[in-house]
């Protein structure tokens, strides 16, 4: 029941346009990283609903992404695919199918396990992620441990004599999902309806006594989160053109948790920023390796995370959103200015 969505949504759209323009001047490597940022944004946003807003510690996000990715890839490679606009449409349908199947998985996992709390839930979801991975390893028709290669990328679109390149279509497609996800989570979490998520996080017994069906609320959050995780998985499959069970290891789940914690549990805009940072940071440190000759990348990356968490223990944005942070920052700056001005006038008076 706090911030208005207009400002952050507008900012997100502007960033999208800027990134599109940026795509003009950069090579395929940068373009691919831009796409990964969008996938990670989707991943972090969806996990934040469970880990941040509802306060349930889930470590199985990679499992849901795997379900979504494999579903979409199965349809694309085994059922039907076409180039051009039709292809984009099909990819959209398949992404939704992947998301729905992931949501179903979320429901099946969530219903029995969300009665558990804290560490126990973490263990169960961790186990689920591993089960999915092992099951995929043993499914021969999905490639088994070899995975599936040659997944078609998002197609380029021909309009008359003008061709929109694959990257732009891909970016448009992925960022539309990110915007949809951001928009729906924001609407949900900051309505009176979504207060139930926060209530469960703050005090389950009190929430239950106030008429909030806590188990149902947790399952809802879990299902919605899994849906967007599945979609993120399907996007990832198209961008990498190759998936195997190893792509959805425990490390991916941990990465998602890192993004949520770094951005701030319960801050959607924080998740977006953190996802961008976590994706760019290791890549930005690559030149360092060429200079020093030693691979210090992961050391510095880890150190940076440790430092950020020491300086800002509640994550970059805490549980507030960007407009609030901006406003409070502005007021403190104005206060500082005022006190500085007062001091100046005082010293001027005393000198005269």
């Amino acid at each position: 029941m706090r911030s208005k969505i207009r400002a952050p949504l507008l900012a997100l759209l502007i960033v999208n346009v800027l990134v599109m323009l940026l795509g003009f001047f950069t090579d395929a490597y940068v373009q691919l990283n831009i796409l990964f940022i969008v996938v990670n944004v989707l991943m972090a946003l969806s996990l934040n609903l469970v880990n941040g807003f509802t306060g349930q510690f889930s470590l199985g996000h990679a499992g849901f992404m795997a379900v979504g990715a494999y579903t979409a890839v199965f349809f694309v490679t085994k059922i039907y695919f076409a180039p051009g606009l039709l292809g984009l449409f099909l990819i959209g349908i398949y992404s939704i199918a992947g998301g729905l199947l992931a949501a179903l998985a979320g429901y099946l996992v969530g219903l029995p396990s969300l009665r558990l709390r804290g560490d126990y839930l973490a263990i169960v979801t961790l186990g689920f992620g591993e089960i999915i991975r092992v099951v995929l390893l043993n499914m021969e028709f999905l490639g088994g441990p070899r995975g599936i290669a040659g997944i078609p990328p998002i197609p380029s679109i021909q309009i008359g004599s003008f061709e929109i390149s694959s990257f732009y279509v891909a970016f448009f497609y992925a960022s539309s999902w990110a915007v949809v996800c951001f928009f729906s989570l924001w609407r949900l979490c900051y309505s009176q309806y979504g207060l139930s998520f926060l209530g469960v996080r703050e005090d389950e017994i009190a929430a239950e006594a106030m008429g909030v069906p806590t188990t149902k609320v947790k399952v809802r959050a879990f299902v919605l989160s899994s849906f967007f995780a599945g979609v993120a998985g399907s996007l990832m499959a198209h961008f990498t053109s190759y998936i195997s069970p190893a792509s959805f290891s425990f490390l991916l789940s941990v990465n998602a948790v890192i993004m949520v914690v770094l951005g701030g549990m319960g801050s959607l805009t924080g998740s977006i920023l953190a996802a961008a940072i976590i994706t760019v940071l290791p890549e930005a440190l690559r030149p360092l390796q060429e200079i020093t000759g030693v691979d210090l990348r992961m050391v510095i990356y880890a150190l940076a995370l440790v430092l950020i968490m020491i300086i800002r223990p509640t994550g970059l944005f805490g549980d507030r959103e960007w407009p609030e942070i901006w406003r409070s920052w502005k007021t403190t700056r104005n206060l500082k200015k005022q006190t500085a001005a007062q001091k100046q006038s005082q010293s001027a008076r005393s000198s005269s």
Partner: protein
């Protein structure tokens, strides 16, 4: 007051619970009439809060029946009981600490929401009108309790007495029939307690409430409750108006001990 079953809001029969070998509450029978303000008192460890926890569904009684508004609610979960019109406060304050005061109250009326996920995603008309209604109601309640100017503060930042008040506001937001107050005046000084009690009286009239109140302080309960139930070691000692309770030998014994004659 007539004891017709029509006027009966809550009826408890043979309520018992055991924790291991300890009989925390043993064969308790009592009833609450509509519109009544009933006090539940007893020394420390008498089982008062345990009774509350069984009424609201936090504990499952090992024996007995809880009948609320003519229906047996033994098997219902806490949130289902709340939806039938039972709201409570907690002895050790349980607010949603990191949420604002206003959000706390809005969560209290969360059970009244009829719109769902899709209404909130697509700004339907229903969503807007309900959101507005609940917001107005919450602000009205906060006004009544002198908390309106703090509505944007985090609940954890309120002083102790106001946190207690906020818990009551939150419980009232769901428009309950029966309000269960667990030591609402705990930790308050005399003037704060007096204020709270007049407030409770006022709220009771305005919202047409039935209240069951746990209190430690005998004097206080004697002042406002029409009917008092005294509990000790999980057993009912005495039930009746303040005059009857005050003169009961058993109650005096439980509170002050037996007088030894030499």
């Amino acid at each position: 007051m007539s004891l017709s079953s029509e006027n009966l809001l809550l009826e408890v029969k043979d309520l018992s619970i055991q924790f291991g070998g300890l009989k925390a509450v043993d064969s308790l029978n009592f009833s609450v009439q509509k519109g009544q303000l009933k006090g539940l008192i007893g020394p420390n460890g008498a089982g008062k809060t345990t009774v509350f926890n069984m009424l609201t569904g936090v504990y499952q009684p090992s024996r007995g029946e809880i009948c609320f508004r003519g229906q047996i609610i033994n098997r219902l979960k806490p949130h289902e009981r709340c939806r039938r019109g039972m709201a409570r406060t907690f002895q050790n304050i349980r607010l949603f600490r990191e949420l604002t005061v206003l959000d706390n109250v809005l969560l209290g009326s969360h059970q009244k929401l009829t719109y769902g996920i899709f209404d909130s995603l697509f700004f339907t008309k229903k969503f807007h009108t309900e959101q507005k209604q609940n917001l107005d109601k919450a602000l009205h309640l906060l006004n009544l309790f002198d908390l309106a100017n703090k509505s944007e503060l985090r609940a954890a930042g309120l002083p102790y007495g106001q946190q207690r008040k906020l818990e009551i506001v939150r419980a009232l937001a769901g428009e309950p029939r029966l309000l269960l107050l667990d030591e609402p005046a705990a930790g308050m000084n005399h003037s704060e307690t007096d204020q709270l009690m007049t407030l409770i009286g006022r709220v009771r009239k305005e919202f047409d409430l039935t209240i069951l109140l746990i209190e430690h302080d005998m004097k206080l309960v004697m002042g406002i409750c029409e009917d008092i139930l005294v509990l000790d070691h999980g057993v009912k000692l005495e039930e009746g108006d303040s005059q009857k309770v005050r003169t009961s030998a058993k109650v005096i014994e439980a509170y002050l001990g037996i007088e030894n004659e030499h």
